[in-house]
Subunit: 229 residues, 2 copies
Amino acid sequence: MRDAYHEELDSISEGLVDMARLVGSAIGRATTAILDADLKLAETVIEGDKKVDDLQHDLEARAIALLARQQPVATDLRIVVTSLRMSADLERSGDLAQHVAKLARLRFPERAVPQDLHATILEMGQLAQRLMAKAAEVIITKDVDLALQLEQDDDEMDLLHRTLFQHLMDDRWKHGIETAVDVTLLGRYYERYADHAVAVAKRVVYLVTGEHADELQPEIPSVTGVEGA
Amino acid sequence: MRDAYHEELDSISEGLVDMARLVGSAIGRATTAILDADLKLAETVIEGDKKVDDLQHDLEARAIALLARQQPVATDLRIVVTSLRMSADLERSGDLAQHVAKLARLRFPERAVPQDLHATILEMGQLAQRLMAKAAEVIITKDVDLALQLEQDDDEMDLLHRTLFQHLMDDRWKHGIETAVDVTLLGRYYERYADHAVAVAKRVVYLVTGEHADELQPEIPSVTGVEGA
């Protein structure tokens, strides 16, 4: 009985890794779609999000069934509750990738991102995908050092975000308001995506050490002027 | 023993109502702060968010302790797990109110919102506060009809958001890029805040009926062009 139980716990963890892989791929494809104005690729992300949602529902149902049947305590209980939260973070990351793809579709056949911001958005997209790949690795390995590293990587996202804002606020901005609005939202999507990847890693830290990651390492304040932007 | 247990369940529910009231007040005050460029009022929201976070931590700890000690099944288990999710929604709403207040502080002594958008932002702020007041009432009364009504109210938020976008995209926009960026983010903060209030109400529907609110009433698609904006 206990063996079936631990198998079930492992399968929840595997479900989280599957979700992380799907949403990691989604943000990569969404970024390519928005930079290339590739409608077909955008559609794969938009349609693919259903798979992520299904995985989450399945994972939640299994977690709740496990709570009811096995009534875990202590560490095992903490693992199940934390898994529910991680699945919510991953589901939301999938939504954010979908938002990027929907913006690509909305502006098609135009490109939403002007040429002089192409490199910055590409970097944000790649960094977001790397962060999620690391988050998946953290779920598998429970490596606290790697988890803490994600917070450093997130500072890089803040820097990229600041670069984006500097472009926007530059008097020489010549792309008009619509593009400014698009770029503002894109920046926010990538930053929130990164936040969720970091949150997943932090939750693993909490599972392993019993301490919140913030207590192990002070959070670095945002470098962009606009909060949560 | 069972009585103490149900008292504990009730106290979790009361904690959720307390959180909803705090974040409802926060979005009201943040809206006044940003419209009046009132730095002191903005500071009360920024500092007050700690109270919301503390309430959430406390509520989560009690929910997890209750799972471990009482090992609830069926409906009671669903109530505890759903409460954890509701507390996450409410905590995030508090963050979003804080983002509005921080934008007020960042632009102080200037006003972040130009005069011709004052009425729209005021309406968004008031609607957000009303949605959260209703969400609190739904937690208390478990009134499914009232919960479904929140989704209708959320359509109003979409309309206001569309109004905001129409202003932004209007060729006569004369407030420059920085204000366009601020207004874009503000619109997103209010809309996400409303989403979380609606999510809280939907979770109560799920508790009462065992069905997700979406299955009872089809979701109305977004009216703004930009997804999740």
